[in-house]
């Protein structure tokens, strides 16, 4: 093999290395533009049942198998969960979450990312988890969102003493 052949091979290997070296870390990907932040609204919550529970009569209980004899008869189906999020007085998100499952009795879940400008904002989150009436839960808070940071809005109904939304930076 002549020196020119080795040179040609060197060029080919160098080309291979340059392609690998460049595209393994370039060009940079801008995930969110400068001056922007994220709001992540995410929770999993089982809404209230659609109908009220009723007590079974003794006759009804007797007809059931022994292991099925529970006094309360509650309908399985749950209500939709309705969520709204406002930023600086303007609604930026609204969703109705039907309960999952064949019997529509599961916990409704959501994970939603919203890109917003960094800076001081007033957020209001509302949630309704029953058939009728107004929102059951509401939380409002002024948040100073730094660019490149995420505000997580979670919801927990089972926190003793303070069920509802949690804002966490």
């Amino acid at each position: 093999m002549k020196p020119i052949n080795y040179l040609g091979q060197g060029v080919a290997y160098a080309l291979f290395a340059v392609v690998l070296g460049y595209f393994s870390s370039s060009p940079e990907y801008e995930h969110i533009p400068p001056g922007q932040a994220l709001v992540k609204l995410s929770f999993s919550h089982a809404a209230q049942r659609k109908g009220a529970c009723r007590e079974r009569t003794d006759e009804e209980l007797a007809k059931l198998k022994p292991n099925m004899r529970v006094r309360n008869d509650c309908p399985r189906e749950r209500a939709d969960v309705v969520v709204e999020l406002e930023m600086d007085g303007k609604q930026i998100y609204h969703v109705v979450l039907p309960p999952p499952g064949l019997a529509h009795d599961g916990a409704a879940s959501i994970y939603r990312r919203l890109q917003v400008p960094a800076g001081m904002h007033r957020f209001v989150a509302r949630l309704k988890d029953k058939m009728d009436g107004d929102f059951d839960f509401m939380h409002e808070e002024n948040v100073d969102l730094v660019a490149g940071r995420a505000l997580v809005i979670d919801f927990k109904a089972d926190v003793p003493g303070a069920p509802g939304f949690m804002f966490k930076k």
């Binding site: 690998l20 393994s24 940071r149 995420a150």
Partner: protein, 511 residues
């Protein structure tokens, strides 16, 4: 001629000048992938010795490897990354090349389909590897992957909720990633074996100098541009700019530019389309497969040994003749290349009785090939008469025909029994024989050139007889576009034989 194939051939031919046909990397892409896989394995084992599986420890140990021992750990880390990237490049080129050359339908569907599944496995392994560093890019990949999967109606709670808060990720999670990163490459290796399972003598290691050159290129790259981490993952932050590895993570920006559903449609659509390619682009006609003629078969197993696609099985003899075995052709695997015909000891053109070989291609019967050879030889005139045997997939040797040059083209040069060379030169009916086939290491049917060379060198059965002078034989491996190469070989042969006295080998006994 297919213009895509010709353009691709021209591209590959560019590499023949510096590398030569035997080392041209385009002809060894599959073997290069195997080699890069082992580079990834060896470098990965080194990294794993130091890697600690904890949320803090994972990042810390990778940083220590990179900065505290740049001569070893840093190089190994970079080799691990660049070899993995190289696998993606070689894999996609390997697939594209086989697609352009139409090597995906018929008996090749199995390799094609398993190859498509391998693409997914390679990507899963690579993407999983990026999680293990647990830096900002790992964080981006983890969040984006879960957000992407959450589009599928599979999970009761969104997976992405696992990455909402800094404390959500535990040591056990990194441990699980580590376990997956060891297990998946083993599954990948298993699939690579399945992918090449139907290949007889599959090339799983590239020529040594190609392997050394590839390794050196990766090594130099690792020293010049070592792989580095981003800052440590912090789930309260959103990675703003990321130095993405575009080979593995190229589709990720589309999750946000389009939507997760659109990316599922894209990758799912491409995958389904690729899986369907063998049937969507199926040729209208099927070439007849090889047929066994037990009357002329002694069960010698040469066809079984030489078949490039393991389409021939040896089974207990059923015709009562005193031989143990008989070949059986699996029509689903047969490529109709005729290499088995070239391997059969009954493919002997000197036979006076009706020429039927032990195994034949129904549309390329050996007696017809002999008659065509006779006809071609009878027409030869001049002082340097040459009989050319060529391959339908290579340069069209019929273009060489003249008063002094006769040509016969076969489905694959491996179909040529060495005795045909003897037959052409016997009684000085031709002064020389040129044997032409596909480009070296790029045989359409994988082993046609290799077996032909070994048969002519008298290293493989059926061997070329000792009485045949090798000076009268020239081989030339050239693609459809390599006109100059074939003409040069023909001229060289004719110049040589014109200096030699004409000779006859005498009578042939009936076999």
């Amino acid at each position: 001629m297919n213009p895509f194939q010709n353009s691709w051939r021209r591209l590959e031919n560019l590499f023949n000048a510096p590398f030569g046909q035997a080392l041209n990397p385009w002809y060894h892409l599959g073997a290069v992938i195997y080699f890069l896989f082992w580079v990834v394995v060896v470098s990965g084992i080194y990294l794993y010795i130091f890697y600690r599986t904890g949320v803090n420890e994972a990042y810390q140990t990778v940083e220590e490897l990179t900065h505290d021992q740049p001569y070893a750990g840093g190089v190994m880390r970079s080799l691990h990354r660049y070899a993995s990237d190289g696998i993606v490049v070689a894999m996609l080129l390997h697939m594209l090349r086989n697609f352009i050359y139409g090597r995906f339908h018929g008996f090749r569907w199995f390799s094609w389909v398993t190859g498509v599944l391998l693409i997914w496995l390679v990507y899963i392994c690579g993407i999983n590897g990026y999680w293990m560093v647990w830096d900002r890019m790992a964080q981006f990949v983890a969040v984006a992957t879960t957000e992407w999967f959450d589009w599928l109606p599979l999970f009761s709670e969104p997976l992405a909720r696992n990455f909402l808060f800094q404390g959500n990720v535990s040591d056990r999670f990194i441990n699980m990633l580590s376990f997956i990163h060891i297990t998946l490459p083993l599954v990948l290796l298993l699939f690579m074996w399945v992918h090449t399972k139907r290949m007889n003598n599959a090339e799983t290691y590239p020529p040594q100098s190609l392997a050394v050159g590839t390794l050196l290129a990766l090594l130099v790259l690792s020293l010049i541009k070592p792989a580095l981490s981003h800052a440590k993952a912090d789930l309260s932050l959103v990675p703003e700019t990321i130095r993405l590895d575009w080979f593995y993570l190229g589709p990720y920006p589309l999750i946000y530019a389009w939507s997760p559903g659109a990316v599922w449609a894209l990758v799912g659509g491409i995958t389904l389309l690729l899986l369907a390619v063998p049937w969507l682009l199926k040729p209208r006609t099927r070439t007849p497969v090889a047929e066994v003629h037990l009357d002329n078969c002694n069960g010698c197993e040469r066809c079984f040994n030489d078949c490039p696609y393991s389409a021939i099985l040896m089974q207990p003899r059923e015709d009562g003749r005193p031989y143990l075995l008989q070949p059986v052709v699996d029509p689903k695997l047969c490529a109709s290349c005729g290499i088995c015909v070239g391997a059969c000891p009954s493919s002997m053109p000197f036979r006076h009785q009706e020429l039927v070989s032990g195994i034949e291609l129904p549309d390329k019967l050996l007696r017809v090939q002999r008659a065509d050879t006779d006809h071609a030889l009878d027409g030869l005139r001049g002082n340097a008469r040459v009989m050319v045997f060529g391959c339908d997939r290579a340069y069209d040797v019929r273009a060489l025909q003249s008063d002094e040059v006769a040509a016969l083209s076969l489905p694959c040069i491996g179909m040529l029994p060495p005795a045909f060379t003897d037959y052409a030169l016997r009684d000085a009916r031709a002064d020389g024989v040129l044997i032409a086939g596909c480009r070296e290491c790029d045989c359409q049917y994988r082993l046609g050139i290799q077996w032909t060379e070994q048969r002519l060198a008298r290293e493989r059965e059926p061997k070329l007889r000792q009485r045949v002078p090798l000076q009268r034989i020239e081989t030339c491996w050239a693609g459809p576009l390599d006109k100059k190469r074939v003409h040069t070989a023909l001229s060289a042969l004719r110049a040589r034989i014109s200096q030699m006295p004409r000779e006859s080998f005498g009578e042939e006994r009936e076999l």
